[in-house]
C-alpha cells in the first residue's frame, strides 16, 4: 500500500545502499539525520515560498482583489521573483551598528525557528528525529527568537528599533506562558512529550484532542499568532508609522531572513497544533476509506490551520500594546490554568476511577 511508512522505508533503504557504494556504511547513524535535515530544509524553503504566495492570494480574495497573477501560472513564481529582488538589493547598514550582533540576529531568528521543524512528524516514521522530549524541545527552541529580536533591536543603534524590539520581546515572552500552559493538559493525559507518541495515542483513542481540549486549541492558536508577531498582535510590525520595530535597519537578505523566520514560526506552530490537537497524519473522520498516505492528511490540516491564522490577520484590527499584555496575562493564563485543573480532576476521577 502507498503509505508514508513504505515511502520512508524505501528511501532509507536506497540511501543505505548508496552509503554502501561510497563506503560510508559505518557513518550511517550520523549521516541519516543529516540527510533528513537537508531534505527538510529544502522542503521548508519551498513550502515557505508557497506560503507567501498563499498569504497574498488569501488576503487578495478576502479584500475582493486578485493578488499576484502575472509571474508564473497563477502568480506562483511571485515569491521567487521577490526573493531574487531581495538578494540583489543594496545592503544598507547603519554606520554605528554593533557589527557582530547585527549579523548574528537574523541568523538566529531563522535558525531557531527552523530547528523546531526537526521533530514534526509528517507521517508515521516520516520525521527527522522523533525525540522523546519533542514538545519540550520545540517550546525551548522557539524561545530563541526573543534573543534574535533583542539583538536586532540593540545592534541597530536606533532608539526606535530598540523600543520596538523591547515591545516585541515583551509580547513574545508573555505569550509563551499560555502557549505552554495550553499544551500541559495534553501532556497530562498522554503522559508523553514525543509528538509521534501523541499522534499514536489519538489513533488509539479514536478521536482527536481538539474535542475534549477545544479551549486549549483556541488558546494555543491565539498564542501562536502572538508568538509570530502577526495580527492582531502585530504592534511591533505596524508601528512603522511611529517606531520602526526591530527590523528597521535591515535590508536585503537579512530582512528576508527575519520574515522567513516569521513564516517558519507560523508553520511550526501550525504543525504542532495539527499534530497535537488535530491528529497529525491520521485521516479525517469518515474519510479513512480513501487510503491516502498520512502526509496528505497532515498537509491538509497544516494548511487549514495556516489559513485560519492568515484569515485572522485580514479580519481583526490590532490590539494596543497594553491591551495585548492584559489579554495575555489576565485572560489567557487564567483560562489555561482552569483548563489544567479541570483536566486534572477528570484524569483523577474519571480515567483512573473507571
Amino acid at each position: 500500500m502507498f503509505t508514508g511508512e513504505n515511502i520512508v522505508q524505501t528511501v532509507v533503504g536506497l540511501l543505505h545502499s548508496l552509503y554502501g557504494m561510497v563506503g560510508l556504511s559505518s557513518f550511517q547513524g550520523i549521516l541519516d539525520p543529516i540527510v533528513a535535515a537537508v531534505v527538510m530544509f529544502h522542503f521548508i524553503a519551498v513550502f515557505v515560498m508557497f506560503l507567501v504566495w498563499m498569504e497574498r492570494k488569501v488576503s487578495a480574495h478576502m479584500q475582493s482583489r486578485i493578488g499576484p497573477n502575472r509571474v508564473g501560472v497563477f502568480g506562483l513564481l511571485q515569491t521567487l521573483a521577490d526573493a531574487i529582488k531581495l538578494t540583489i538589493k543594496e545592503d544598507v547598514k547603519p554606520v554605528k551598528r554593533d557589527k557582530i550582533p547585527y549579523y548574528i540576529a537574523p541568523i538566529i531568528a531563522f535558525v531557531a525557528t527552523f530547528m523546531g521543524m526537526v521533530v514534526i512528524p509528517f507521517d508515521k516514521g516520516m520525521v527527522v528525529q522523533d525525540l522523546n522530549i519533542g514538545l519540550l524541545y520545540i517550546i525551548a527552541i522557539t524561545s530563541f527568537t526573543v534573543i534574535a529580536i533583542l539583538t536586532a533591536g540593540w545592534s541597530s543603534n536606533n532608539k526606535f528599533a530598540l523600543l520596538g524590539g523591547f515591545r516585541s520581546a515583551a509580547q513574545i515572552v508573555s505569550y509563551e506562558v499560555p502557549l505552554v500552559l495550553s499544551l500541559v493538559p495534553i501532556i497530562m493525559i498522554t503522559g508523553k512529550l514525543s509528538l509521534g507518541a501523541i499522534v499514536a495515542y489519538q489513533q488509539q483513542q479514536g478521536y482527536w484532542f481538539v474535542i475534549p481540549q477545544a479551549i486549549a486549541f483556541l488558546i494555543f492558536i491565539t498564542s501562536a499568532t502572538a508568538e509570530a508577531n502577526r495580527a492582531p498582535f502585530d504592534i511591533p510590525e505596524a508601528e512603522s508609522e511611529l517606531i520602526g520595530g526591530f527590523h528597521t535597519e535591515y535590508s536585503g537578505v537579512k530582512f528576508a531572513m527575519f520574515f522567513l523566520g516569521e513564516y517558519i514560526a507560523v508553520v511550526v506552530s501550525s504543525a504542532v497544533a495539527s499534530t497535537v490537537f488535530l491528529g497529525g497524519w491520521l485521516p479525517f473522520p469518515f474519510m479513512g476509506f480513501l487510503h491516502l498516505p498520512g502526509f496528505v492528511w497532515f498537509m491538509a490540516k497544516l494548511l487549514l490551520v495556516i489559513y485560519l491564522i492568515m484569515a485572522f490577520r485580514w479580519t481583526f484590527p490590532r490590539l494596543r500594546v497594553d491591551q495585548l499584555m492584559d489579554f495575555g496575562w489576565k485572560v489567557l493564563i487564567p483560562i489555561s490554568i482552569i483548563n489544567i485543573l479541570v483536566t486534572g480532576f477528570w484524569i483523577l476521577l474519571v480515567a483512573k476511577g473507571a
Binding site: 526606535f160 492582531p232 508601528e239 511611529l242 481583526f316 484590527p317 490590539l319 497594553d322 491591551q323
Partner: protein
Amino acid sequence: MTDLLLSQIKVSGESQFGTDEYVVNLGPQHPATHGVLRLIVKLDGETVKETIPVLGYLHRSIEKICENRTYPQGITYTDRVDYVSAMSVNLAWALAAERLMGLEAPARANWLRMIFVELQRLASHLLWMGAFAGDIGALTPFLYGLRERERILDLFEMTCGQRLTYNYIRIGGVMIDILPEFVPKCRAFLDYFEPKIDEYEGLLTYNPIFLQRTKGVGVITPEMGINNGVCGPSLRGSGISCDVRKQQPYLYYDQVKFKECLETDGDCWSRYKVRMNELRESVSIIRQCLDRLEPGPIETKLPPVLKGPLGGEIYSRIESSRGEMGIYLVGDGTPKPYKSKFRCASFSNTYVLDQLTRGWKVADIMAVLGSLDMIVPEVDR
C-alpha cells in the same frame, strides 16, 4: 530644523524638556492615509504628554488666489479645498455667491445638487471608514469602502466626466443635466449598497478588539466640543444637535425626511456610529430626491458678468461630509471677490487633537485622528 522644533515646544508653555521625555515626529510623510500632516508628539515612555500639529505643508493660498479670480472661476479652486468631498465645497461656494448676488437656482437644479451632495457624502464616509479601520489595524474594510466608492465615482463620471474634482455645481444651477440612464443606475446602486452597510457594520461595530480600541478613547464632552469649535459628526457623537441641514436648511432639506444621527458618549466609537448611520440617512435622502425630480431648467438666467455688490458680504454655511463648511465672501462691485474665506470643519476639529490625546497611548493618537475625519487640504487650504 531642530532649533525650530525646540523653540516651538518652549513657546507652547509646557514643562521643560525633561530627561525622561522624548520627542517624536510623526512626519509629513505618513504611511497612514491622512495626508501631509506633521505631528510633534512629546512622549513619556508610551504615554503622550503633548501633541503639536504643525500645519502648512499643503497651504496653497487658495483664499488669496480666489481674490484674483472671478466668482465662477473660483469654483475650480473649491474642488481642491476638500478633494474627498468636492461637491460639497462646490455647493458651498455656489450658494454663497448666489446669496451674495440675490440669485436663485431653479428647482431641478436644486434637487440635482442635493442628490450629488448626498452621493458625495456617501463616497466621503466610505473612504473615511476605510482609513479609520486601517488606522486601527483592520486593513480589509479599506478595500470594501473603495469598491463601493468606485460605483459612486462612476455615477459622477457619467454626469460630469470627473471622478475627483468635479466643477459641476455652478453659480445659478448645475453644469449639465443628467443622462437618462442616471436615475435607474443610481437606484440600482442604492439597492445594492444599503445591505452592504449592515455587512460592514457587522465586521467592525461590535468587534471586541475594535470596541477596546475605540470605546472611551478621545471623549469630547459637549461643552468642550462647542467651545473648541468642533462641528459635524464629531460633535454629533457627543449628543449635540448641530446639523446645518436641520438648523439652517438650504436647498430642499426641509422638504425631505431624514433623521439627525446622534450618539451620547462622545468617544471614537460614537463618532464612528454617527457616520455609519449617516450613510443610511443619505441613502434615504437620495431616494426621496430621485422620486421628486421633475423635468425643468438646470440653470437660471445669469447676467453676462457676475458682479458682487459693493459693500455686500455673506457668510454661508452648509453641512459638508466633515462638518460645517462656511464660506465668507466680501463683494466690491467687481467680478472678483474682495475677500474669500473658507471655514473648514477639519481645521477646528484638528485643534482638539491635543486635548483629547494627553495621557493616552501613542496608538490612540491614530485612533482619535481617524475618528475626527480630518483632511489636510481643508486644514491648510
